[in-house]
């Protein structure tokens, strides 16, 4: 097996940060910067002190000005919702904005031709750089599923975030079962369903 085992460099990118870890610089103090706070107030239309999936959708846009899709917004809310209420408060929102900023940076990095979206080859390269050893057919499939039917299918920021986060989460789940780190795991049907359902929803 290649160095790092059958997964290539260990289970995706080893650096902390854009994959859900701490902000760059490590341990940013829990606080809210003024810009995030005023943005929060603008987005919290009903002034409930919380932002729902619907309100969040209005706040987050892709490079082509489309709003973030529902699934990604839901994923974001679940990540930053400490109360499990399906909404986030100003602290969660502030953390979410920092998180998205990091992702925008990464997205731009991989958008080599600066087109504003990620093409098939850019996606392949992104996966490869993150340490994933996935087939071209897989990237094709993701593009077919998540882009419009047009001559140059490509992925917007929201789907890029969603795809990368799911990759990370499923890899973690698989690694838990592959205790010998062989790149194989024997799964029962029920285990399989539980693993996937709890990580992908």
């Amino acid at each position: 097996p290649p160095p790092g085992g059958p997964y290539g460099s260990p289970y995706g990118c080893p650096q902390p940060g854009p994959y859900g870890g701490a902000a760059p610089g490590g341990n940013a103090p829990p606080g809210v910067d003024p810009e995030a706070f005023s943005w929060f107030q603008a987005v919290d239309e009903d002034h409930s002190g919380f932002i729902s999936v619907k309100e969040l959708k209005q706040a987050l846009v892709n490079n082509n000005w489309s709003t973030f899709n529902d699934e990604t917004c839901l994923l974001m809310i679940n990540m930053f919702d400490k109360t499990r209420s399906g909404r986030i408060d100003v602290y969660g929102f502030s953390a979410l904005l920092r998180f998205i900023q990091q992702w925008r940076g990464l997205f731009q990095q991989h958008d080599r031709d600066q087109s504003g979206s990620i093409s098939f080859s850019e996606l392949q390269q992104a996966f490869s750089q993150m340490g994933y050893n996935l087939s071209p057919q897989f990237s094709q499939l993701l593009l077919a599923r998540y882009s419009q039917r047009c001559p140059q299918p490509s992925i917007q920021l929201d789907r890029f975030i969603h795809i990368c986060m799911q990759l990370q989460s499923l890899t973690d789940a698989f690694r838990e079962k592959d205790t010998a780190l062989l790149g194989n795991a024997r799964l029962s049907y029920e285990d399989f369903l539980t693993m996937v359902v709890t990580r992908m929803l």
């Binding site: 699934e71 087939s135 057919q137 039917r149 698989f174 194989n184 799964l187 049907y189 399989f192």
Partner: protein
Amino acid sequence: MAYPGQPAPGGFYQGGYGGAPGGPAFPGQAQDPLYGYFAAVGGQDGQIDADELQRCLTQSGIAGAYKPFNLETCRLMISMLDRDMSGTLGFNEFKELWAVVNGWKQHFVSFDSDGSGTVDRQELEKALMTMGFRLSPQAVTAITRRYSTQGKIAFDDYIACCVKLRALTECFRRRDATQQGFVNFHYDDFIQCVMSI
């Protein structure tokens, strides 16, 4: 082991999934009322994508009194039957989808005892169990959290959930060589099979 939704000998789906197997075009296709809905939205290539499927299903009235399907659910439905991985459905695949969804709808209706268009966690769990999915409590919790609004799961979300479970089951079953309920997954295959759904 018996997987939920697995075709019985003879090739028809059991357990309320309805649906005839896909196959070659049959005589009288043009008179099929479903073909009318399909042709109205489909392009020259005889394939429909998620947007077109959404319109098609809405016009066919399959959701009945329930809210029509959102785009993400339509995308999921396509992935469930999209054998050539094109991101689109042909007419026969559409027919199969329609029958399967109808089966699921009947099942939902039987659990929606107050006719509210929603089911609660317990009803959802029962509905899924009676379809043959043996889900752990964590799985049911994850499903409920994902699909419920104030403890209630709407018809559209229920369908999305069924599609996902069925697709995952198919993915697993195809790899279960001895049909004992175990698969030795290689990492790459696991990722690709699961994220294709």
